[in-house]
Every structure is written in structure tokens, then in C-alpha cells.
């Protein structure tokens, strides 16, 4: 049984198809046609809905958006699912809706319900957003008509002074209702399994060895909606308590594998603020609200943006089977195209990222056709320790250049001992990197471009990390 609030109504669902998406539940089962299907792949945001969930202290609500088209019903378990139909109070529009009307922010109107929901979540952020924060909040909503300017203006204006709406006024009732739901949390008995702890997870894996593990479902969702795959059974990691915790230990950051990228962002940035750009450019906000760090690793996709970061930071992957856990350096995780060393009964439980031991240089670069919500043509992460002007240690991670995420050992070795400020470093790095890999031509880039980027991103890294450099290197600045 899963239990959630659909707007203000308590819903208990015992029987449903494992692959049922939240959007199909709304549109087909409930005939609620406000949320739209634009792509069924998490790329356009027309299906965006908001979730209100209890904060860890259980005394307030946290609002976030997700792409309902690829979210499984596990995404709403124990939460309030808020749809566009529920925002009005009688005939009065919600302030974000009224702002879109007043600023002429809807033309064809098809993307509008999704935009409304993203603005609604921003409205509940208690910030007076500047333009970048508006872009960040709406990065997952494509509009083909307006050119976005009126939407940006509407969102900025309405979220600057955001008086309490009915959701805020009803917050205590909603909290009480969600606590009640959570106290009854249990897994459905078939279809979509929702283990609550590692023992239950281990048992389900044993009982259903064929069932894929899912967390955010942002990748497996495409198998369902694009390839029409049917799953009798799926095991969701989204409620396993042990996989949801992030903490900072003395020498490392410990990130639960089933935590969403949005959840890990503050922990990672507290230690490595240089990762802001790569985290903000990882897909879109609704995807980051669903997708997990563990999923991005277990997928072993050569174009995921987190594996190169974790390679360059020397992260350790903690793998569990319910009985014993083992530590695997990220550099040993990937074996071939979308394959890892994990055994069939294992899952990734957490990721340990060492804290810096000394002053260091770090940049994570991403080059794609579009700045936001795009997949890297090349992702390159460079991580250096320099002492008294001499390179002591080099680490790196790359995406989009090989069948797995990779590091470049030759680069590491060639640079140790060199003076960081010497221009020789540019030449050495470029020469090695431009020949290090054999990338392919595909829809995102040609091999030739990828090779040149590898060299030129190194050049950029060198320029950006020289002490008295005043050369501008970026067309977009991520503070």
C-alpha cells in the first residue's frame, strides 16, 4: 500500500502497475488533465508537479518539483502531491498564476501548468529571487512561444513578496496528515516494492532477483515511457532509511546513495564550492530533485556528470548486500559500457568523498550545446595539489570521451614535479589529453571536437588558476 495526499485528499493505493508513472496516474486514472505530457522523458517540464514533504525535523514542509512523466508512484509515497488544478482558491488564482496572466507569460499555454508548478515551488522558498535563482528554479521548463522574458519577470515579481497562500495557512493540517501517513508506511506487496530498511531490501532482492533497483527513476523511467518496457516488479530504494542520510565526518563527506542531487548539493558545496557550476548544470532542477547520486554511479553511463567529479575527488563507493559492505574506489567501479563491479545482490549504499588535506585547485567543466539541461559533449574535472608552486598531485575525471567515465593517469604522472606557473604545463597537458582517449562521433559532438576540448579545457584550467591571471575565460560566470 502506498499512501499520499493528492492535493487535499488522502489516497491509498494497493494495486497498481509497477511502472505506473505519476503523470499517467493523474491523467489516465484520475482524469486530471491539467498536467501535460510534452515529451514523456523529463526533458520539457510540461508535466511538472510539486511535492510537499516533511522536513527531517517534521515540523515544516519542503516543496520541490518533479517531472511526473517519469516519476514512479514511489515518488509520492508519504508526501503531498500538488497539481495545477489545486492552486486556485475558488475563482481566485494563486498569486503565481495571476502573475503569469498579468505579465502575459502564457501564449499557447501548454507548458504553462508546469511553469506554474515550478513557480509555486519557488514561491515557497522564502527567498527574494534574483534572476539567476529564477532561471535555476525554472531550468526544467521549456517554453517554445514566449522567449521566457515575461515568465522571468512574473516569477521575479511574484516571489519577491509572497504572502501566505492557502498551503502556508493549512501547513499544520498538512503536516499532521503527512505524519499520519508516514506512521503507516509500508511496502506494497507486489509490483512496486518499497523496502523501508536494508534488511527488507536484501530480502526483496533475494526474493525477486530479476527486479531492477530504482531510486529516482530518471533513467529507468525512459525504458518505461520510451521503450514501452513492462516490469512486473521493481524495487525502489527511495524509502530505505539507511540510504537517505548525508553527513560530514572528520575526513570525508558521507552521502547516502538514495539522496537526490538536490539533497547532496549543500553538503558537497560546503566543502567544494567550485562544484557549483557542474551541480547547477546537471540536468534540470526537477530532475535533480529526483535523480540520485547512487543512480548516477550505478548506471555507469559514460556521460553522467557526477562520476568524473567523483573520480577527480578520489571518492569511495560503499557497496552493501544487507550482510556485509565493502568499499570500492570509484576508479575501480566501472568495468565496461554501463557495467560495474557490483554483484547482483549488491547495491550502492553511500559515497565517501575525502575532504581536502591541503590547499588545492579544482574545476569541473562541462561543455554542451545548450548551457542548461543538456548532456555533456565533454565533462572534464581537474584536481591539483600544488605546494610552493610545484605540482604535488594530480587527479582528473572525464565524461563523454570513452565507454566509461575515466581518469587520465598519463596526465597525472607527467605533471607531478612541474612548476604550476610555467607555460610548459599547458603544452604538456594539451598534448597528453588530446591523444588520451578515442571518443566517438555522436549526436552531441564529433570525436575531433571532443579531443580539442580536452586540450582546451586544460588550457582554461591553467589560465583560471594562475595567481595573477586577469584573462577572462568564461562567457557565463557561475559565482
Amino acid at each position: 500500500m502506498i499512501r499520499f495526499l493528492l492535493n487535499h485528499e488522502v489516497v491509498e493505493l494497493a494495486e497498481f502497475d509497477a511502472g505506473l508513472t505519476v503523470l499517467n496516474y493523474l491523467r489516465e486514472h484520475r482524469k486530471m488533465k491539467g498536467s501535460k505530457e510534452g515529451c514523456a522523458a523529463g526533458d520539457c517540464g510540461a508535466c511538472t508537479v510539486a511535492l510537499a514533504e516533511l522536513t527531517p525535523a517534521k515540523n515544516s514542509l519542503h516543496y520541490r518539483t518533479i517531472n511526473s512523466c517519469i516519476a514512479l508512484m514511489s515518488a509520492v509515497d508519504g508526501k503531498q502531491l500538488i497539481t495545477v488544478e489545486h492552486l486556485c482558491e475558488g475563482a481566485t488564482l494563486h498569486p503565481v498564476q495571476q502573475a503569469l496572466v498579468d505579465y502575459h507569460g502564457s501564449q499557447c499555454g501548454f507548458c504553462t501548468p508546469g511553469l506554474v508548478m515550478s513557480m509555486f515551488a519557488l514561491y515557497h522558498k522564502d527567498i527574494q529571487p534574483h534572476r539567476e535563482q529564477v532561471s535555476y528554479a525554472l531550468s526544467g521548463n521549456l517554453c517554445r512561444c514566449t522567449g521566457y522574458r515575461p515568465i522571468i519577470d512574473a516569477a521575479t515579481a511574484v516571489c519577491t513578496h509572497s504572502p501566505a497562500d492557502k498551503f502556508k495557512r493549512n501547513e499544520q493540517q498538512t503536516i499532521a496528515a503527512l505524519k499520519e501517513l508516514q506512521s503507516k508506511a509500508e511496502t506494497p506487496e507486489r509490483g512496486l516494492l518499497l523496502p523501508q530498511n536494508r534488511e527488507q531490501l536484501a530480502r526483496f532482492i533475494k526474493e525477486h532477483p530479476e527486479a531492477p533497483l530504482v531510486a529516482g527513476n530518471t533513467d529507468l523511467g525512459l525504458e518505461v515511457t520510451q521503450k514501452l518496457k513492462q516490469y512486473d516488479c521493481l524495487i525502489s530504494l527511495s524509502q530505505v532509511a539507511e540510504l537517505k542520510e548525508c553527513r560530514e565526518d572528520d575526513d570525508c563527506i558521507s552521502l547516502g546513495a538514495a539522496c537526490s542531487l538536490s539533497d547532496i548539493e549543500p553538503h558537497l558545496l560546503a566543502v567544494y564550492p567550485q562544484l557549483k557550476e557542474i551541480l547547477e548544470r546537471f540536468a534540470s532542477l526537477p530532475i535533480r530533485n529526483q535523480a540520485t547520486l547512487g543512480g548516477n554511479l550505478a548506471n555507469a553511463s559514460p556521460i553522467g556528470d557526477m562520476p568524473p567529479v567523483l573520480l577527480a575527488l578520489g571518492a569511495i563507493v560503499v557497496v552493501d548486500n544487507g550482510e556485509k559492505s565493502r568499499n570500492i574506489p570509484v576508479s575501480k567501479l566501472f568495468t565496461s559500457y554501463r557495467q560495474t563491479v557490483l554483484c547482483s545482490n549488491e547495491w550502492i549504499s553511500r559515497i565517501l568523498i575525502p575532504k581536502p588535506a591541503a590547499p588545492y585547485l579544482l574545476r569541473a567543466y562541462k561543455v554542451s550545446k545548450r548551457f542548461e539541461d543538456d548532456i555533456s559533449a565533454v565533462c572534464a574535472v581537474f584536481h591539483l595539489y600544488v605546494e610552493d608552486g610545484v605540482i604535488k598531485k594530480v587527479a582528473s575525471g572525464f565524461g563523454g570521451v570513452a565507454v566509461t567515465p575515466v581518469s587520465c593517469e598519463a596526465l597525472h604522472q607527467a605533471l607531478v614535479g612541474k612548476r604550476w606557473s610555467s607555460a610548459e604545463c599547458i603544452a604538456i597537458g594539451k598534448e597528453i589529453l588530446m591523444q588520451a582517449f578515442s571518443p566517438i562521433d555522436d549526436v552531441r559532438a564529433t570525436a575531433e571536437y571532443r579531443n580539442q576540448l580536452l586540450g582546451n579545457l586544460w588550457h582554461r584550467f591553467w589560465l583560471e588558476n594562475q595567481q595573477d591571471n586577469h584573462i577572462e575565460t568564461r562567457v557565463v560566470t557561475y559565482a
Partner: protein, 776 residues
């Protein structure tokens, strides 16, 4: 009879015309209550359709084994071309677009059959189970090869003025160039969809997302083998169209209708995004070239342009699209002795179709390419060369197709934007910046737009409307135009409210229905308001005349003095409220309903001579764009955009502004990140939103100053407004020119970079590499 209810209308209102009224559906849209075809409650027993498509680009289909499809769970029916009861070709103008593949496969993704099932997912799963026995043949993927072998969907057309060869020979300076221009996926957020509902006997109601309901009606009737009057098409709104639902929405409606008729159940066909992108045509890619002769000052003396449209496998609208590309290779410039040739290459791709600008952008970009090339060659700022070549007394005022440009607004608009955007000061600042910035280079470009308004197919320049006034004074207007987000219905409501002197709340615009207004033209060519607005006005005027005559008779006044304003009819000293007038007119048996009609005057074009006046008037615009380019990665950012755009007397400034901004960003997408890629088998590989990147919110320039240039249209358009849908799309050419300007700075502006479009970061870096190599 019970007394009619007077609703108690406000006594004083200001006319809604020229006001920024919100979109008529805005409240329903933001509330999630605006219905699109897929949101309409389905009749009981509705079944769902999926399409099966050909897996190769060319070949003979020897056998199609559908046994597994038929045996798949939930399947109700399966049809192929042989099952179409009536006409099998649904081409819009010239033959060549069968509903399903015949024996000859035309492109990879061509629909081969449709399967009807109890649920959408059952239909889609079943559609994957067909087995194709195909004798492969050699596909034609190269535009150049198609042109060389005269493999055309339509004959070549030519437009000429003066003697190009002689003028070219005499010209002191000469240049040649070529440009490959990418196509564009429409990416309407609402994909193609139709719902066919069988009615009594052989009657059919079709709800569709189409810019051309009348054509859907005709084609559905033809495939069903019934007369047109048996078929009604209803179109409330589209979730975006952009030209992609002008001709290519019909196929899905036809398939749904055939299945609905066979199975006597309502049938819905909604294409999944990836299939939508594969099976529908796009903006035509073009491969163009030019040859120009000019003097030392940079003035064009002789111009020869060849435009080669990649039309795909059939003509669709390519005849008119390539014509429009040809009509716009001059943009705002006098070409001198000119020769413009347009080829329509037949290739093994999906049949490319209408898209905002309709070939105009692919032609116009050649004019700007020529201006840039001449500027580099003569070592001048491109703006100087552009201004020098504008139509006017010192150059010439007749286009290469023999049309007098009339009062060209561009010189004054360019002067205004030059000043308001600080063009020359910024040019100076930018030169300084580039000298001191080895990695990031900035570029600036100011480019004009002159776009011809009218369908070049003359018969399409007509429209109808139907106005009803009900006894409570509320008004319903139906017209032939369709609402796809552009605000057409809002403007029509404003026109009707203005004519009767009532407020907007009194006016309801209905869905576009073929049983209300017949034989309509597509909502396309930016003409929606020009045509339907005039038709609606015409209907209003007819009723107003009746009302005025009725009231004049009553008060013994002169009907010609009647003024409809502020919810009153005033005649000299006498006046009557709108509600009372309508009630009295009803009781006096005055007809409160009328059709309206309009046809565009003055236009003509002779294809034999390539001469005429194909356009009622021109719309103008000017844009200045500034960009930063990263010469290490090819990444770029549009930093600032200033636009001045000619809308005549704007009917709704907010809507016009929305059209200009939206068109600009869409045009920017076309020229920058939106890259269509097919593999060597002819399969589209940028086939979803993950791999085909339209602008996202962060791509909107931080500084975007858009100003309406409000001058009454000199022609008698509706309240002297101007069409605004397409023209501003081409303002984005300024972004492409600015990127080239930034790259050219590497060579000290000596080299004009070769930058095919879309100018993705990869293509920009390639151009940077090439210019760097040439300048060292």
C-alpha cells in the same frame, strides 16, 4: 415570452483596441483548465491508435507481415494503405503524400500501418511487432547530388532584374560564397494529435490540433470517400504550431477517421514525441550560394543567388517555401542586376514543411552573409555596408521580382536603433575589449528585416467570419483562423468589441469549426489577424448597419451618424444602451447574425516572368545583438539585444511584444543550438528533447530591449496594424552575424568566417580554428 434579462453592463468603457488585454485563455491556461485535444473527455469506448513506420530510407516494400501486430493483446484493428476507402494521397497541393507507404518507401520513418487497440500502450507495443520484407534501394541524401541530377520535387524557378552577367563582368570587386543552413524542428510542446468521433451513418466529427481545419476536413472526407459536408472539424486551440501543423496535422486526423469509421468507435491518435519528430517534416535545410559584384565603397552592382531547398521526398509546400526564400534573398538591400534561382531538391528525407518564416529566413540570411563578406573585403564595419545598400533613392527601389518597395522604413529604423543601442560607442568599447582579451571575443551586429506579407498562393488570401449577437447582448464570433498561442482570438475579440462599442467580456470567440466558417485558409503566413480581423470587422459592420438603420428609423435620425461606443448606440442627441438595443432589435425582427468576408487587394504575381506584387505590404524590423565567444571551447552567450520592430498601429502591444520576443528566441535557437542530425542510414538521431536543444530559460539574454515601432500601415490593413507572427523571427540573424563578428576579430576583421548554421559551439570552434589558421 418571458422578458429577456439585461445583464447590467458597465456604462463607460474605453475601447479595447490598441490595449494590452491578456490572452483570452490566459486564466484557463494557468489554472490547467484550458483543454487541448488530448484533454477532451473521451466518449465511452474510445480506442487508441499507434503508427508503425518503415525502418529504411529507400526501397521496395515487398511484404508487410502484420500477424504479430494483430495478435498482440488489446488490438482491435490494423490498417494499411489498401484499407483506405477513398483517396489515398493526402498531399496538400501536388501529389506525393500517401496516407501510408505504398510499395515504394520514401524515407526512414514513413508510416506503414496503423494499429487500433483498447489502450494507448497496447497500440504502441503492438506497432513494434511488424515484420518488413524490403528490397533496399539507393537513397538520395545529398542536396548537391539531387540538384546536379535535377532530382526535383518541383521545377526550378528564376527571378531576374537587369543583366547580371554584364554587370558582374564590369564590377570592380567580386566575391563568391556558400552557406549550409540547417533545418529546424518545430517542437510545439503539444505533439500531433487527433480525436475522430463517428456520428450518424457516415458523418464524422474530428477534433484536431491543426492550423488548417478546412484542409483536414477536405482530406478526411476524401479518404473516407464522403462529401465534405459530412465531416466537421473542430479546433479549439493548439499547444503551439509554428507551421508544423499547417499541412502535417492532417495525416493523423485522416488515419483516426478511417479507423473510427471502420470500427464505429471514437479513435484517438497522439504521436509520442520521438515518433512525432521522426515522421513529421521540419524547416527546410538549404544549401545556398552567391556571386556578387560591387564597387570599392561596397555597393552591390550585380547579385546572383542560388537557393537549394532540401525538400525531402515530396513537394508538400516546398514550391511556395523555396519561392519565399527567393523573394527574401534581398532582405532590405537593392541587389543591382540580379539573378535568383531556386531549386527544390528531392531527397530521401521526411517531407519538409512550413515553419515560421516559410523559407524567408533561409533566403534572408544570404543577404546578411553577402553584407558581412563585402564588409570584410572592403575593410568596413558591416553596418556601414548594410546602410549603403538599403533600398532607396540612391540605390534603387525595385526588388528582383519587380515590386516597388514603396516607403522603406529601414533607413529611419536603423538610425533610431543605431542611436538607442549606442552602436558606435559599443563598437569602440568592444574593439578595446577584444584587443585585451585573448580567450573571450565579443561581437556586435545590427541587421534589418524586411518581410513580405501575404500568401504567395493568391487564392489563400481570403477569410470568413460569423458573428452572432444573442438576446442578452452577448456576442459570439467564429472565424477561420486558429489559435496556437499567438493571441489571434484575443485580437479578434478586441476588434469585435471595438466595433460594437462593448467590453471584451461581451465577446466570446468560439473554437474554429468548419461548420461555422467554411473553406478557410490555414492560419499561416502571419496573416491570421490581417485576414480574419477584416472578415470579422466586415460581419460586424453588416450587423451595425442593420442596427443603426433600425434605430434611426425609430428615432427618425440618420443611420450614417450612428456611433457604437461605451455600450451605447448614439445617434445625434438620442442614445440607447447596448442591451436595450439588442432586445428591441430582436423584437423588431432584425437579424442579429451575419457572416463576414475579406480578400486582400492589390496582389498579383506572374510565375512565368518572375514579376509582380506578391505582397500587400512589408513588415520591417531591426535588431542589434552583442555576443561573447569563448575561443577555447566555441561556447558563446548572447549578452545584449536591442530590437525595434514595425507593427503598424499595434492592436495589442503586449501580444505583439510577446510575438517579437518569442520569435527572436526561436530564431536564435534555429541559428545556434538546434541541430538536426541524420545518420548515414537517413535516421534522425536528434529525435527527442534530450538531443535536440531548443532555447531554455537561461538562454534569454539578460539585456533585451524590445521596442514597438508604431507607424500606421500605409495600406488599409485592419486598423492599420501589421502582421507580426513571422517577421521578428529573422531578427535573430543578428546573433549569427555577431558571432561571426567576434570570430572575425581574431583576424583583425580581415577574414569573414565560414559559419554554417546552426552555429553550435562545435561549429563556432571550427570557425575559430579556421580563422586562426588563415590569419597566422
Amino acid at each position: 415570452m418571458r422578458k429577456l434579462i439585461d445583464q447590467g453592463l458597465p456604462s463607460v468603457i474605453s475601447s479595447p483596441i490598441h490595449q494590452s488585454s491578456p490572452h483570452e485563455s490566459a486564466i484557463r491556461q494557468v489554472a490547467g483548465a484550458a483543454r487541448y485535444v488530448d484533454d477532451i473527455p473521451e466518449p465511452i469506448g474510445t480506442c487508441y491508435t499507434a503508427i508503425g513506420t518503415c525502418p529504411v530510407a529507400a526501397g521496395q516494400l515487398r511484404h508487410l507481415d502484420l500477424s504479430a501486430v494483430k495478435a498482440s493483446p488489446g488490438v482491435v484493428d490494423v490498417i494499411t494503405l489498401a484499407d483506405i476507402p477513398g483517396h489515398k494521397d493526402i498531399a496538400p497541393v501536388f501529389d506525393g503524400d500517401p496516407v501510408f507507404v505504398d510499395d515504394q518507401i520514401k524515407f526512414l520513418g514513413q508510416p506503414a500501418f496503423a494499429v487500433l487497440a483498447k489502450t494507448m500502450v497496447e497500440a504502441r507495443r503492438a506497432a513494434l511487432l511488424a515484420k518488413y520484407d524490403i528490397q533496399p534501394e539507393q537513397p538520395m541524401f545529398s542536396v548537391q547530388e539531387a540538384v546536379d541530377s535535377q532530382h526535383f520535387v518541383r521545377p526550378t524557378h528564376q527571378m531576374k532584374q537587369g543583366q547580371f552577367s554584364a554587370a558582374y563582368k564590369k564590377a570592380p570587386l567580386k566575391l563568391t560564397g556558400q552557406l549550409n543552413i540547417g533545418g529546424q524542428e518545430h517542437m510545439y510542446l503539444e505533439g500531433q494529435v487527433a480525436l475522430a468521433i463517428p456520428e450518424e451513418e457516415d458523418r464524422m466529427l474530428v477534433c484536431t490540433s491543426s492550423q488548417h481545419p478546412s484542409e483536414v476536413q477536405k482530406l478526411v472526407a476524401e479518404v473516407l470517400d464522403v462529401k465534405l459536408h459530412k465531416v466537421t472539424v473542430d479546433m479549439r486551440r493548439m499547444g503551439g504550431g509554428f507551421g508544423g501543423k499547417e499541412t502535417q496535422a492532417a495525416q493523423w486526423a485522416c488515419i483516426a477517421a478511417v479507423l473510427a469509421q471502420r470500427n464505429r468507435c471514437a479513435v484517438k491518435l497522439r504521436l509520442p514525441r520521438q515518433q512525432d519528430m521522426t515522421v513529421t517534416g521540419k524547416r527546410h535545410p538549404f544549401e545556398n550560394s552567391y556571386k556578387v559584384g560591387f564597387d570599392e565603397a561596397g555597393r552591390l552592382l550585380a547579385t546572383h543567388v542560388v537557393v537549394n531547398g532540401n525538400c525531402g521526398h515530396s513537394a508538400d509546400l516546398s514550391e511556395a517555401i523555396v519561392d519565399r526564400a527567393m523573394f527574401h534573398v534581398d532582405n532590405g538591400y537593392y541587389l543591382g542586376a540580379s539573378d535568383v534561382i531556386g531549386h527544390r531538391a528531392k531527397t530521401s528525407f521526411v517531407s519538409h514543411t512550413a515553419f515560421r518564416g516559410f523559407g524567408g529566413p533561409q533566403g534572408m540570411i544570404m543577404a546578411e552573409a553577402m553584407m558581412d563578406a563585402i564588409a570584410r573585403k572592403t575593410r568596413q564595419d558591416p553596418l556601414t555596408v548594410r546602410k549603403l545598400n538599403l533600398y532607396g533613392p540612391s540605390t534603387g527601389n525595385t526588388t528582383h521580382y519587380g515590386m516597388d518597395v514603396g516607403n522603406n522604413l529601414l533607413p529611419e529604423m536603423i538610425a533610431a536603433l543605431e542611436s538607442s543601442s549606442d552602436y558606435w560607442q559599443r563598437r569602440e568599447a568592444l574593439l578595446q575589449f577584444n584587443q585585451n582579451s585573448p580567450v573571450i571575443k565579443k561581437g556586435l551586429a545590427l541587421t534589418p528585416v524586411k518581410f513580405g506579407i501575404s500568401f504567395t498562393a493568391k487564392h489563400l488570401n481570403q477569410a470568413g467570419a460569423l458573428v452572432h449577437i444573442y438576446t442578452d447582448g452577448s456576442i459570439q464570433i467564429s472565424h477561420g483562423g486558429t489559435e496556437m498561442g499567438q493571441g489571434l482570438h484575443t485580437k479578434i475579440a478586441q476588434i469585435v468589441a471595438h466595433e460594437f462599442g462593448v467590453d471584451l467580456a461581451q465577446v466570446e470567440v468560439t473554437s474554429t469549426r468548419t461548420d461555422k466558417v467554411p473553406n478557410t485558409s490555414p492560419t499561416a503566413a502571419s496573416s491570421g489577424t490581417d485576414l480574419n480581423g477584416k472578415a470579422a470587422q466586415n460581419a460586424c459592420l453588416i450587423i451595425k448597419t442593420r442596427l443603426a438603420e433600425f434605430y434611426a428609423q425609430k428615432v427618425k435620425g440618420n443611420a450614417e451618424d450612428a456611433v457604437f461606443a461605451d455600450h451605447m448606440l448614439t445617434l445625434g442627441e438620442k442614445s440607447i444602451s447596448w442591451g436595450a438595443l439588442i432586445q428591441e432589435a430582436y423584437f423588431a425582427r432584425v437579424s442579429l447574425s451575419s457572416t463576414g468576408y475579406y480578400k486582400t487587394p492589390k496582389i498579383h504575381y506572374n510565375r512565368d516572368t518572375g514579376n509582380g506584387r506578391p505582397f500587400f505590404y512589408f513588415s520591417y524590423g531591426v535588431a542589434a545583438s552583442e555576443v561573447s565567444v569563448d575561443t577555447l571551447t566555441g561556447e558563446y552567450k548572447v549578452d545584449r539585444v536591442d530590437v525595434l520592430h514595425d507593427v503598424g498601429c499595434s492592436l495589442n502591444p503586449a501580444i505583439d511584444l510577446g510575438q517579437i520576443e518569442g520569435a527572436f528566441i526561436q530564431g536564435m535557437g534555429w541559428l545556434t543550438t538546434e541541430e538536426l542530425l541524420w545518420n548515414d542510414k537517413g535516421k534522425l538521431i536528434s529525435e527527442n528533447m534530450a538531443t535536440y536543444k531548443i532555447p531554455a530559460i537561461g538562454d534569454t539574454p539578460k539585456h533585451m530591449q524590445i521596442t514597438l515601432y508604431q507607424r500606421p500601415n500605409e495600406e488599409d490593413s485592419i486598423y492599420h496594424s501589421k502582421a507580426v507572427g513571422e517577421p521578428p523571427f529573422m531578427l535573430a540573424i543578428s546573433v549569427w552575424c555577431a558571432i561571426k563578428d567576434a570570430i572575425s576579430s581574431i583576424s583583425g576583421y580581415a577574414v569573414d568566417p565560414q559559419l554554417d548554421t546552426p552555429a553550435t559551439p562545435e561549429k563556432v570552434l571550427r570557425a575559430v580554428n579556421a580563422v586562426t589558421a588563415l590569419s597566422s
